[in-house]
Amino acid sequence: MTNSNPFLIHEQKGTDIQNPMDGQWVFNVQKDGFLRADFLQMDQNLNVLVVLAGEGAKCQINCGYLINKCNKININIKVLHKVKNTTSIQQIKGLVADSGCVDFVGTIEIPKDSQKCDGRQNHRAVLLSPKAIVSATPQLEIWADDVQCAHGSAVGPLDKNQLFYLQARGLTQKEARRLLLQSFLGDLMSTEFDAIISKWVDENV
């Protein structure tokens, strides 16, 4: 498997994995199968397609991104609920500094015969510079009527009240920013990524 940006197949059961080239992934999750995969994008595009191909299949895709300098990346994550009774969670969180730019498209497709599916997607990003850009496009293609679906996206600077609360407890503004940014991504990603995240935050806070 190749990927120059860090990734982790955290857990899988009954999943066929294809990784034809850098940053391109196709997962086929079979009946009662399970997949949890974590991706951390730093300067590379990511294209993920998850096909929930058998009843009872579940997936959780956690994608973090840390983008700085003039780097520009595209992140496309699509989950196809090919059959009924399948469940998906997409969680995407990122930090963008300098003139970094991220274009995120997240798709949940539920065809009309795939009843009783549950598809969720949440995207949040913190902008660390006025020049940083994040564009988020959630695409819900829901043709079945008896399904649960939810999505949300929030992009903005660090919360001023959180920063002040930490400063009122003695942390300098820089330490407060560092702690909040590390926790923001650390909360989502496996602990294996902690060192990479803290190094990036130290360099870009």
Binding site: A168, L171, E175, L179, S183
Partner: protein
């Protein structure tokens, strides 16, 4: 400990503190009472250096030093602690990690060695036990998913951990049931020492039933109108603020 002279402060264009004078002696428990909107919470925000408020006139001396020249973190590390009326949620920031960072930042500021993980856990567990804070509460993110009463207990716990010289309790009693009030009152009693002062901001006497103040100041329209003994509390409860 704290000396405030002719303090004027505004938020946006609105002047809220209009020439406030107040002195809190070392070792004193000083209650600040007043009706809603009189500027009590603004006073506490200005003391800790909240960026939304601008001081236009006057001075604040803390242990003889000009407080208004210090950044918020410097004020905290010099010994000022504000227990927030509405504690802020910090998703993903564990309480233990947060307190260890805060405590070691303060120790560094004071020229002391940092506590290592083992020393810190011992120090924390001892205080948690005394304030009935369960280990589960400490494993969770700061203030996330806690009830109003639990959040205020956690503020008191942070106060006990950081051992400040001046503890400011901002409307600690709003929305607290009797049991939670007792816990907060107990924490203040335990921490009440000769070298430590308390400023208890409140608009009724609920918390003051558990903590007897040495002094009471009554605020109205951005000023302190009068300062007296604990008997003032009874007078306010009997006659209301209109008398002042």
């Amino acid at each position: 400990m704290l000396e405030i002279k002719n303090l004027h402060a505004k938020v946006g264009d609105k002047e809220i503190l209009k020439g406030l004078n107040l002195t809190i002696q070392t070792g004193e428990v000083h209650a600040i009472m007043g009706p809603n909107g009189c500027g009590k919470s603004t006073l506490s925000s200005v003391i800790v250096g909240h960026p939304s408020y601008t001081v236009t006139e006057g001075e604040i001396l803390f242990k003889g030093k000009n407080l208004l020249k210090m950044a918020p973190d410097e004020r905290a590390n010099s010994g000022i602690f504000l227990a927030f009326q509405y504690p802020i949620e910090l998703p993903g920031v564990g309480m233990a990690q947060f307190l260890k960072t805060a405590l070691n930042t303060k120790r560094k500021f004071l020229g002391q060695d940092p506590m290592d993980a083992v020393q810190f856990m011992k120090y924390m567990n001892l205080r948690a036990k005394a304030l009935d804070i369960s280990p589960e509460m400490l494993k969770r993110s700061v203030n996330v998913g806690f009830s109003g009463g639990e959040k205020k207990r956690l503020e008191t716990f942070q106060m006990a951990m950081l051992e400040p010289d001046l503890c400011i309790l901002d409307e600690m009693d709003s929305g607290l049931d009797v049991d939670a009030l007792k816990v907060v009152g107990q924490a203040v009693s335990v921490m009440r020492e000769k070298h430590r002062s308390f400023m208890i901001i409140t608009h009724h006497d609920d918390l003051l039933q558990y903590v007897k103040p040495d002094k009471v100041s009554v605020m109205r329209d951005g000023q302190v109108l009068t300062t007296g003994s604990a008997d003032l509390v009874k007078e306010i409860e009997a006659k209301g603020y209109d008398k002042f």
